[in-house]
C-alpha cells in the first residue's frame, strides 16, 4: 500500500478514509483532524488558556502534545488519586512526559483534598468508579475555574464518544442525549468542556502516540473492570470493520440530527445552581456540593471505623 499523499510506502491504513499514509503524512492528517474539530465546533482560540486533563493514558498525552505543537496555550492537570502502586506510576509518566516536552503541569493530590480513592472505596457505599469519576470532574472544573482557564480539554476519542453515546442510546437517556457532544459550553460555575480528538479513532491516536514516542502502555485502574464500555467498543469494532466509517457517521449524525431533537425535548428548567458553601462549586443541593458531602462522609466513617478499632 502506498501513501495517499506522497506515494511512499504507507505505515497506517485507514479504511474509513479510503486512504493510507506514511508516518510523516499521517501526522499531517492527524493534525488536520484536530484543527477541523477545533474550528468547526468553535472549541477555543489561540488567545485562550486551556487546561488539559492528563490521566497518563495515550489519548490525554497525545492531546496535550498536539495542542502544544499547534501553538495553543496549554497547561496539564494531573489528579493523583492516591491508589497504591498505580497512582505513582501514572503520575511519574505524566511528569516525565511534560518534562521531556517542556509542558506546564499542575498535580493535584486527592490525599491532600481528603479524598484518596482507597478511602472512598472503603468508606462510601457506592460503586467506586462512578464516585471517582465525579470527584475527578469536580476537581478538573474547580481548578479550571479558579485558575481562570477558558476551557477544559479531555482526550476522549471517537471510540470513547461512540461507546458512551451507544450506552446512552440503549437506555434512551434523554438528559445525557441532550447534552452529549464534543463541546459543552460554559454555564454558571462550569467552564467550557471540549474534546478535540473526537474525530479520531482509538486506532488513529494509538498510531500517532507510537510515532511521537509516547509511552503507550498504561495499566488499567486496579479498581475498574471497564467491562461494559469495552464490550461496546468490541461491537463497534466489528461494525466498523464490516462497514468502515460507521462510527463517525453514527456520532456525527447524532450531533446533527439526534442531539437537537433531544435538546428540544429536554426542557431547560433544571434546578437552580448555587455555589457550594465549602468549595464554591456549583450545586443544586442546599449548602454542600456532592463532592464535599462525599469528603465529609469519608471522614466520618473513617473516624468511626478507627474508634471501633
Amino acid at each position: 500500500m502506498k501513501c495517499s499523499r506522497c506515494k511512499a510506502p504507507a505505515a497506517v491504513a485507514l479504511p474509513s478514509h479510503h486512504s493510507g499514509f506514511c508516518e510523516e503524512c499521517f501526522q499531517i492528517f492527524f493534525t488536520r483532524q484536530v484543527e477541523t474539530a477545533i474550528r468547526r465546533q468553535k472549541m477555543f482560540t489561540r488567545d485562550e488558556r486551556i487546561l488539559v486533563a492528563l490521566s497518563g493514558g495515550k489519548d490525554s498525552l497525545t492531546l496535550m502534545l498536539e495542542l502544544h505543537l499547534q501553538g495553543y496555550d496549554v497547561t496539564g492537570l494531573h489528579i493523583d488519586l492516591g491508589i497504591p502502586n498505580s497512582s505513582e506510576k501514572a503520575r511519574k509518566k505524566v511528569q516525565d512526559f511534560c518534562d521531556l516536552h517542556g509542558l506546564q503541569l499542575q498535580v493535584l493530590e486527592m490525599e491532600k483534598e481528603g479524598l484518596p480513592i482507597p478511602d472512598v472505596k472503603k468508606y462510601v457505599n457506592r460503586p467506586v468508579c462512578a464516585v471517582c469519576g465525579k470527584i475527578k470532574r469536580h476537581h478538573f472544573n474547580r481548578v479550571a475555574r479558579e485558575g481562570g482557564f477558558d476551557a477544559l480539554a479531555t482526550g476522549h476519542n471517537l471510540d470513547d464518544e461512540v461507546a458512551r453515546l451507544f450506552a446512552n442510546t440503549l437506555r434512551w437517556d434523554n438528559a445525557y442525549l441532550s447534552d452529549q457532544g464534543p463541546v459543552l459550553p460554559a454555564s454558571d460555575g462550569f467552564v467550557r468542556k471540549v474534546k478535540p480528538l473526537y474525530r479520531l479513532s482509538e486506532f488513529e491516536t494509538a498510531n500517532y502516540a507510537f510515532i511521537k514516542g509516547i509511552e503507550i502502555h498504561s495499566d488499567p485502574c486496579p479498581y475498574s473492570s471497564g467491562a461494559s464500555f469495552t464490550s461496546h467498543k468490541e461491537i463497534w469494532g466489528e461494525l466498523e470493520h464490516r462497514s468502515p466509517g460507521s462510527k463517525f457517521q453514527f456520532y456525527d449524525g447524532f450531533l446533527k440530527r439526534g442531539k437537537p431533537a433531544f435538546a428540544m425535548m429536554e426542557h431547560e428548567n433544571g434546578p437552580e445552581l448555587l455555589p457550594c458553601r465549602e468549595c464554591g462549586s456549583p450545586t443544586s443541593a442546599e449548602g454542600l456540593c456532592g463532592v464535599c458531602r462525599i469528603r465529609h462522609s469519608v471522614q466520618e466513617n473513617k473516624a468511626k471505623a478507627e474508634q471501633q478499632g
Binding site: 491504513a13 468508579c129 482509538e202 486506532f203 498504561s218 485502574c221 466489528e238 466498523e240 470493520h241
Partner: protein
C-alpha cells in the same frame, strides 16, 4: 517462524505459515484497526509481507475503562 510480542498482555506468541500482516492478525483474531503492528520500530499496514524470523510488536489499541 514469526515471533509476536502481544501488548498489553506482554505475552510472546510464535506463529508459522503467516505470510502477511493481515494473515497474522487473523490468526490472533484481531481486526486491522484493533491493533498497531510494528517491525524494527516501523508501523506496518495489513498488506505487508512477513518473513521467517520476523519479530513483531502487536499492540491492541482499546483502552480499558
Amino acid at each position: 517462524m514469526i515471533q509476536v510480542q502481544l501488548e498489553p498482555e506482554g505475552r510472546l506468541v510464535e506463529l508459522s505459515g503467516t505470510k502477511t500482516v493481515l494473515g497474522m492478525l487473523n490468526r490472533l483474531s484481531l481486526r486491522p484497526t484493533m491493533a498497531i503492528v510494528v517491525r524494527d520500530g516501523k508501523l506496518l499496514t495489513p498488506d505487508r509481507r512477513l518473513y521467517n524470523g520476523d519479530a513483531l510488536l502487536v499492540r491492541k489499541v482499546t483502552s480499558a475503562g
